[in-house]
Amino acid sequence: MSIAEQPVSLVGLARGLQGATLEESRRTMEICNACRYCEGYCAVFPAMELHRSFSNRDLVHLANLCHGCKGCFYACQYAPPHEFGLNLPKVFAELRRESYEHHAWPGALAGLFQKNGLFVSLATGLLLIAVMLLSALLVDPQALFGVNRGPGSFYAVIPYEVMVALGSLSFGYAVLALVMGLRNYWRESGAKQVGGKALALGLHDALTLRHLSGGGHGCNDTHEGFTQSRRWLHQAMMWGFLLSFASTSVATIYDHVFGWIAPYSWYSAPVVLGTLGGFGLTIGSGGLFWMKFKTDPEPTAQRNFGMDMGLLAQLFLVAVTGLALLFFRHTSAMGMLLVIHLGFVLALFVSLPYGKFVHGLYRFAALVRHHADQRAASQEEGSAS
């Protein structure tokens, strides 16, 4: 049975989704739909206006369409202390987290979204200890603490086979689990039909973070005033992540196709991409981390704090250790830096499908459905008139 068809009283039994969060989301949307003052803010409100009543499936979609810009909260004449007490960004953030849990693959691991901050920190700590212990036990101290230069020096610290096996296994698993989770999500909350145009528009909105621009003048990042900080920091982080990913991909091709062995020169594609990506990730994740402390907590879901901070901290640590490795690779610190960096990378990969990272995929899916729905609605209107 899909969540759309479940009677409300049974929803609490569905993994992840809480009846109370769904009901509060529904109550909020019904009031918003009678008001509609916020329709200029983002995609959530035009999407809401397509409905007169809200199924669970619609609510999960709308929650994932919400970027948490908080514009609607500060503009809301019904926000607390009004007796309606509306707080849309907060309840949608809670529903999003519940939807990650609900759709996680395999289901047995869904509970990792419950105390996600704890899970991410434990995974990071334990994997780091494991990698360091193993290298201390297995690696020649000369390689670990000495100065190694020239091709293959990384593999003197961690053998080529080990690095490839760990990397491809952890990353391969992450991709599989992410794809399966996204598939679960799309089956319940996606669109029935999606054209190329909706896909392209969804991709455009995701890559430009259109709905964090507030139509050009910014969002309520930390308070009532409008800024673009969150959008630019998130862009730095997202593109930093993608550049780092591109760096790794190019390096893999260099190694496997051309047989060029790392480390590469300062001007090589992997190093240039990785350096840019590393700086983007550091600035973006560090900035967002700082912003989370500074922001007005009222329109945010405190329950999600650990999950949100967990991924930011991981990305920051991966980026900083990656940059440190780059700058100190010709010194005796290289061995330990490589071990630490790989420990953080491994922990990131392992926790990708069970943490905040999934929001990127779900939100992209929601943006695609949004464009498909809007297209269908305008075609319907066109044929009706």
Binding site: Y37, C38, G40, A75, Q77, G214, G215, F226
Partner: protein
Amino acid sequence: MLRDKHYDLLVIGGGNAALCAALTAREQGASVLVCEHAPRALRGGNSRHTRNLRCSHDAPTDVLTENYSEEEYFEDLLRVTGGVTNEKLARMTIHESKFVTPWMYERGVRFQPSLGGTLSLSRTNAFFLGGGKALVNAYFAEAEKKGVEVVYDTEVVSLDIEEGFFKGAEVRYHGFPDYVRAKALVVASGGFQGNIEWLTEAWGPSAANFIIRGTPFNKGLMLRDLLAKGAEPNGDPTQCHAVAIDARAPKFDGGIVTRLDCVPFSIVVNNKAERFYDEGEDVWPKRYAIWGRLVAQQPDQIAYAIIDTKCLKLFMPSVFPPIEGRTIEELAGKLELDPAKLSKTVKGFNAAVQPGSFDPSGLDGSRTEGLEPAKTNWARKLDEPPYYAYPLRPGVTFTYLGVTVDEKARIQMADGKPSANMLAAGEIMAGNILGQGYLAGLGMTIGTVFGRIAGQEAARYVNR
């Protein structure tokens, strides 16, 4: 403590007009204190429930479509007021409305892009992004940035006025008695619709059943004080703008979501299960405002709009779900109406419905024959169960009584002279222009234009 300080200007109120006045005066060098009765979270008076303002424009702008001439605007005003307007002030306000949106934008107010003609108001009215509370937030932020001093939870209780000249004001600052000294005064504290006792004076005990759509802080204390101390009144003290809203709405501050657009497609009965007025008289926005009064005249100030299933999707969803019954009798039971009488009313109505082609988009002539009162449009039999009902009560939007002002926003005294240092802006003087009726977005236009004029005049006075 406020009593140790000396301000150039005291602004009473925290809505649109008050902030426009405070910003304008501050930008011209005046030191300004804004006294807002509400706590910070509920600041902004009725402006926080608004959504747009009406602007004249000669060509399409980034926020308005087509054009809206000063003449057309004035004709619209004449139509709704039936001529109860001060033409000089009205024409000046309309002219000034051409220049307000860039001024607002510079002070942080953001507008939605024009809605491309889907909504008829997109030609005449500029919509605030996020609505009036977002506008108020922007103005308060701008005021703080520019050094306007704002105190919340501060009610002005009495004005010291000597022969039409303002000396100072007694206030309750966070509950404690205090005193504000200032060289000039702008009163922008709204009407008295939040004051049920005062409404009762005009409407009798039935006013206790009215719902106030806006802020509970508009008690009209300053209005009453000014009138008692020699200001010339303006507007009919017994009139208020009231619409029929969902009876389940909160007593105050229900705002937009309590509106009901179902009346033209329904039959409306009172608590004796009898119809009392032609529900299909005209398209809804035009008839919207008379239903508040109609319901106010019914026993216990309550009525019920009843529809069947085929009408359910013809109007904007309201915030409260309709009351549902599989039969008219069952519905009557849930509404605590006499089932036999309601059944008889519905049967009588159904029997009188003439064949016609129903068209919700305009006057369709589908009518009843031989029924009193008749329903002259959109009359269709109630015959598709389940049946639905929305309870209706009068919802008061604003009151018309205010003070008389001149074109410099100076308060006119009963002796015929303008006060030298007392100015008024917003709802407290809107009746000078909107003497009766209602024109969407005009209140915000008057507040913005007169707020700016009052601020300018106050600055001119203190800098003279």
